[in-house]
């Protein structure tokens, strides 16, 4: 009996399974590598103020040199995360959040904010929503991920001012007092 038709079918089926598995796992692998890299570089749940993008920048893929980025790798498995930042005047500013599968699950920009500061608490599930008060809360679809502050360098004259403002952005775990 010829075995090659069975071997060919098995090869194609296995190739299909490997293909699908690779496509499904790739986003999580890339995000985990980013979170791990930021954790090694500066720590988890801490705001990192990236230098202005140039040809050596590797934190953000396809970075925009017209923006300055502050990035924070989060892990809300143990504690919620309080996120705060002043909002600069007369330029584009946004806070965006990304789950461990790359999904942009939350974004807010300066034109949607009523105050000159953004304050949000990121929690891991609905249970924590009832235990905290204060700033608006966002439920993270995954325990780990990344959040990103974008500030547009509206003009080179304003770079120093905007850079100083965005460096006041903070990510800090909300640890209950005993």
């Amino acid at each position: 009996m010829k075995s090659w038709p069975y071997l060919l079918a098995a090869t194609l089926i296995l190739a299909g399974i490997i293909h699908i598995t690779a496509v499904l796992l790739w986003p999580g692998f890339v995000m985990a590598r980013l979170v791990s890299g930021l954790e090694t570089q500066s720590g988890i749940n801490l705001a990192v103020h990236a230098t202005r993008a140039d040809e050596n920048s590797r934190t953000v893929v396809r970075p925009s040199p017209d923006l300055i980025y502050t990035i924070c790798a989060f892990d809300v498995s143990e504690h919620p995360l309080k996120i705060s930042a002043p909002v600069p005047d007369d330029t584009y500013f946004s806070l965006s959040m990304f789950g461990d599968n790359t999904d942009n699950f939350f974004v807010v920009n300066d034109s949607q904010l009523t105050k000159n500061v953004v304050e949000i608490v990121l929690v891991k599930d609905d249970d924590q929503l009832t235990t905290l008060g204060g700033p608006p809360m966002v439920v993270a679809p995954s325990e780990t991920g990344v959040l990103l502050f974008r500030t547009l360098i509206q003009s080179e004259d304003r770079f120093a001012e905007l850079d100083a403002i965005r460096k006041q952005a903070k990510c800090e775990p909300v640890i209950p007092t005993q």
């Binding site: 075995s3 071997l7 098995a10 090869t11 194609l12 296995l14 190739a15 299909g16 399974i17 490997i18 293909h19 699908i20 598995t21 690779a22 496509v23 499904l24 790739w26 986003p27 692998f29 890339v30 995000m31 980013l34 993008a53 140039d54 040809e55 920048s57 590797r58 953000v60 893929v61 396809r62 970075p63 925009s64 040199p65 017209d66 584009y92 946004s94 965006s96 990304f98 599968n101 790359t102 999904d103 942009n104 699950f105 974004v107 920009n109 034109s111 679809p141 990344v146 990103l148 547009l152 509206q154 003009s155």
Partner: protein
Amino acid sequence: MNLLLKLLGCLVVAVALGLGSAWWLINAGLGSAVQNGAWATDPAIGATNADPYTRAAVARAGLLALNITETAYFTAVIDDSGEPLSTACTYKLTGATALATRWWSITAYGADHYLIPNEAKQYSQAMNSVSPRTSGGFEISVGPDAEGADAIATGYSGTGVGDPFSLTLRLYNPSSAIYDHLASVALPRIVKEGCQ
């Protein structure tokens, strides 16, 4: 023994086929669900209902990209005549009228998806940097010798055949006139002027 070798061969071919085809699709760029001239986009970029292939493409070529409610990303790897963009060539980008968005920028990237090294550090042009025209439009020169105002440099050294590169058009807080008509809204034309 013969069967064992055949099974091993099948396994090697299956891994090569599976991983190779996955990488080929992942590496194909940031989505081409919608084509508008030389520009392509995918409204599912960054969306929580994105399909696995879009998520994988975002992880490769647009990690931390915003969803379309915040920003529309158009990418061009070809010019208006369908030729691949090359760092050895000079292109004229022409926007006939103002883009209906709060802010826009156009940035050049190398094949590795990062900014292209160039002496002038002239990686992009944006709404707040280009010279305004009475029509509201703009004109940008992209190429090896591009420098100064209204220019994006591609870093070509003058040797070899040039490298492929891509352009990303970012439209922050686009109006509904844009995100409701991604395939037909007027976007900058990309016309090749010559090559070194």
